[in-house]
């Protein structure tokens, strides 16, 4: 009952279980289950970090939490300065959830043991598009909050009123380019990973795991960096 290589790649996104609702049913695909799992584990991790930091006793987990907090604050401050502190929670959770999702994909060979839900959720364009749309909505919400709705509407007709369609197209292209970048990177890596694991499953995939951790971190960094830069573009010009 081993699958061929083509089937493994084509069935990366497959239905896991269904919940019948009325006439039809809600299908839980593997990427949906994987994104729930990675989101829940990220939430658990963050709650544990927060508890141990609040506790006040110097423990390993607490110092890891402080390290992550300081790195994040330096990151946002280096892009938009002191006002970046208010955007830090969103950027941090975006970064964290993408990292957790990407790292879940490193365990995807376990799918051969019947656990087909272990894939990176980001190999599904729907997931990355959802992340990107959330990010862009947050960018616009932040710019409305920072400079008021009048100025926010006015920035669509900068520098000249006839630029309005171009500006609107630019806003629509942002989530598409963000999501296709994340999806393409992760799916390409997933395909390479599956091919190599199918051909030689002895030592060679370890190198790819290291490469996968590196790309996962870089992609999460780039995604949150771009969201930060979009925030800076929309609020920095006018304030």
């Amino acid at each position: 009952m081993t699958e061929s290589l083509q089937e493994i790649i084509q069935h990366s996104i497959r239905p896991i279980f269904e919940i019948p609702v009325g006439e039809g049913s809600i299908v839980f695909s593997s990427t949906l289950v994987a994104s729930i799992v990675s989101g829940a584990s990220f939430l658990l991790f963050v709650i544990l970090l927060g508890k141990s930091v609040k506790n006040g006793k110097p423990k390993v987990l607490a110092s890891i939490g402080e390290l992550i907090f300081l790195a994040l604050r330096n990151f946002t401050r280096s892009i938009i300065g002191e006002i970046g502190d208010s955007y830090m929670p969103f950027i941090g959770s975006l970064f964290g959830i993408i990292v957790f999702s990407n790292f879940l994909g490193l365990f995807s060979p376990l799918g051969g043991m019947g656990m087909h839900w272990i894939v990176s959720p980001n190999i599904d364009l729907s997931v990355t598009l959802g992340l990107a749309i959330t990010g862009i909505l947050y960018v616009h919400g932040a710019s409305i909050g920072a400079m008021g709705i009048g100025k926010w509407l006015h920035h669509f007709i900068e520098p000249y009123p006839f630029m309005l369609p171009i500006n609107i197209i630019e806003e629509l292209v942002k989530p598409i380019s963000l999501s296709v970048r994340l999806f393409g990177n992760l799916f390409g890596e997933h395909v390479v990973y599956e091919i190599v694991f199918y051909l030689i499953s002895f030592v060679v995939p370890v190198l790819l795991i290291v490469l996968g951790m590196f790309t996962g971190l870089i992609q999460a960094y780039v995604f949150s960096l771009l969201i930060l830069i979009y925030i800076k573009e929309t609020i920095g010009v006018h304030t």
Binding site: R181, G184, I229
Partner: protein, 88 residues
């Protein structure tokens, strides 16, 4: 040649060529960007942090162009929208 055979042959050749051509441009551009960044870092080591982050950002933006080509190639390979005209 048979129509379907020609269709399959072309839709195998085209994704390969797409990736090859896109990667040529992307690799040349990334090399240029990295070389310029290293030169700047060697000239001014104290500005390393800022140069590093903008280098990674520009590398990701250049890479995303190659990734768009990869997405097109994957669509042609795995989800060809015109296959229903050949195989009804």
């Amino acid at each position: 040649m048979d129509n379907a055979l020609a269709f399959y042959a072309i839709s195998i050749i085209v994704p390969g060529l797409t990736i090859a051509l896109a990667v040529i441009g992307g690799a040349a551009a990334q090399g240029k960007a990295a070389a310029a960044a290293f030169e700047a870092m060697a000239r001014q080591p104290e500005a390393q942090g800022g140069i590093n982050s903008s280098l990674i950002l520009s590398l990701a933006l250049i890479e995303s162009l190659a990734i768009y080509a990869l997405a097109v190639a994957l669509i042609i390979l795995f989800a060809n929208p015109f296959i229903s005209y050949i195989l009804p």
